[in-house]
Subunit: 264 residues, 3 copies
Amino acid sequence: MMNVGQWLTRVRKESPLVHNMTNVVVTNFVANGLLAVGASPVMAYAKEEVADMVRLARALVLNIGTLNETDVEAMLIAGKAANEANIPVIFDPVGAGATAYRTETARRILREVNISILRGNASEIASIAGEQVRTKGVDAGDVQSDLVDVAKKAAHMFRCVVVITGKDDIVTDGERIVIVSNGDAMLTKVTGTGCLLSSVLGAFAGVGEDVMTSSVAALAYYGVAAEKAATQAKAPGSFQLSFLNALHETSAEEVDQYARIQGE
Amino acid sequence: MMNVGQWLTRVRKESPLVHNMTNVVVTNFVANGLLAVGASPVMAYAKEEVADMVRLARALVLNIGTLNETDVEAMLIAGKAANEANIPVIFDPVGAGATAYRTETARRILREVNISILRGNASEIASIAGEQVRTKGVDAGDVQSDLVDVAKKAAHMFRCVVVITGKDDIVTDGERIVIVSNGDAMLTKVTGTGCLLSSVLGAFAGVGEDVMTSSVAALAYYGVAAEKAATQAKAPGSFQLSFLNALHETSAEEVDQYARIQGE
Amino acid sequence: MMNVGQWLTRVRKESPLVHNMTNVVVTNFVANGLLAVGASPVMAYAKEEVADMVRLARALVLNIGTLNETDVEAMLIAGKAANEANIPVIFDPVGAGATAYRTETARRILREVNISILRGNASEIASIAGEQVRTKGVDAGDVQSDLVDVAKKAAHMFRCVVVITGKDDIVTDGERIVIVSNGDAMLTKVTGTGCLLSSVLGAFAGVGEDVMTSSVAALAYYGVAAEKAATQAKAPGSFQLSFLNALHETSAEEVDQYARIQGE
């Protein structure tokens, strides 16, 4: 797991086009965040064009934060086109477990599209995998073992890398387990920081082959940038601005220096 | 009307989930604003899930700023589910009076859903109530009496608390009249400050029983935060950031100290 | 081309209502940007109301950044209503050339609606006009002659003013050619700066008769504001904030002083 910073260097050099089908709350923040990272965002939702658009991209990010039937239909078209073209698909099942419609739609997408990376919080991933977890009380150095089990189960069920984010982030392909402990609680005070992370996972997956390693690198980078922003901003308006700045300014060397990664 | 600040304390302690069905212009700002207040925002628009989602929430906010038939249908489903579950519904009739479609849709929502709080500017409320008002020339200490009459008429027509915002804010349940005179003209230079206020009215209504008092408390808090932000920011980009910070940082004590409230 | 600053003065004095039918990524930024300029933004998308809304406005801006069939149908209704009422229509063909659907939709809008100003980057305008251009290597003082030819061809094809933006901006009505060389590369690090420019072109077109001159004035103002913001902000989060501030603070005198305009 050496040299996670080199993934950031590759993203900035290659500026991968990331096709986002995300929710209406965060779309501006996701686009600005990807630009700050050094990637190239594009948003396209119409069933008439999503297959054409995704073939131009290096990654596809599906996010059901404000889903509706029209968008889900287009997500399935885009996802299948991405699969045919060997383009990695990242899926963020926002709110799975909150309503039956979200949980069922998440499972439908996972059934019809081959997902490379599934990212959510503990309750979202657990609800999709048919598990229940205590979602309180996770803290650094004491990751709940049941969360790791849920992540591994989901990775086996959906044959993908699973990322459960929280105070510590869990990354697994079903066999290997890596814990990334960067980040800051201010991330929870700005809407869309999880959604943007999913798109950043897409940018990193777009410049390499090993989505397990690219995901660890993306998580470390994202968390280091958040820590940097939090040293400058103590309130949510300021933090949003500082975080976009930090995504732009954080260097590969800083990622290598400050990354807190445990595991294989 | 003592201790309006205690409402803010309750919102921050209970972090009520507020279900927003709002317009595409302001959705990010509303979510970040509610997080800054200390509430929990959720956005959901699909007719398949809005009834399920609203039953998890403490308030429902309907906003027709970029309405279309699909969203209006879902708003009616959500509104009726909220009524059945005794969850307060806040309605922001953005642009009523500007087009016949908006005015008629606003009236349809008011006919089919029991609204707890109707909030708009003078011309929006007047157009719904079938009145005409001079909307220029309102200033502090000299609230136009015809605006108060319009607010009272609307409160009787729709059996709800009516909030008309402007340089002075009018709150009435049809009998009691309260005027809140906090705020700053910079609020008019940032899009969505009215929409966010409607959602903040929802957060406050979600933690108590008396929507008249919760509305006065929300208006005073919102205005005090704006005044605080305006001392730090004189241009609109800076004000947006400072206002989100101020929503987060303003204390219950500051609200009690700086609130300018007249009336019963 | 004297006194481009006077156009800014007129916009601020008259505060023209600009009806935007734009994409979901940038809608908040466009609204806040127009407010910062001193114009009045409104967004409306429903086919039931767009004709009514556009008749209240001084300009209509159509942007296909996240197009779908429902929105395109409404854009055509709004565009035709604007034509009947002699209200200028600005068209931003975001992503034309990227997918067949976008290119064909852009041509359909240009066929069914009389456009006053067509604004895009080199590859967007070229793809609509059926041309191919090298889109790399444009720099100040050395505008590619083939880009000017593409702009002139498009102006003749669609009988409108064409604006191709890049490091240098080209404005032509098919006969006259003006080059505006203001701006800063930081504009490419914030999403929606092109979309907002199209809406600012609308605000300026709304206060005068000569859309060629109003476009040159809008481009000079926008670029001068960007240069001002770039002196204060070196990272994208900060630049977005500073640019909104600069749009608000830049004076007519500064525009006249710093405008870099060549041509007739």
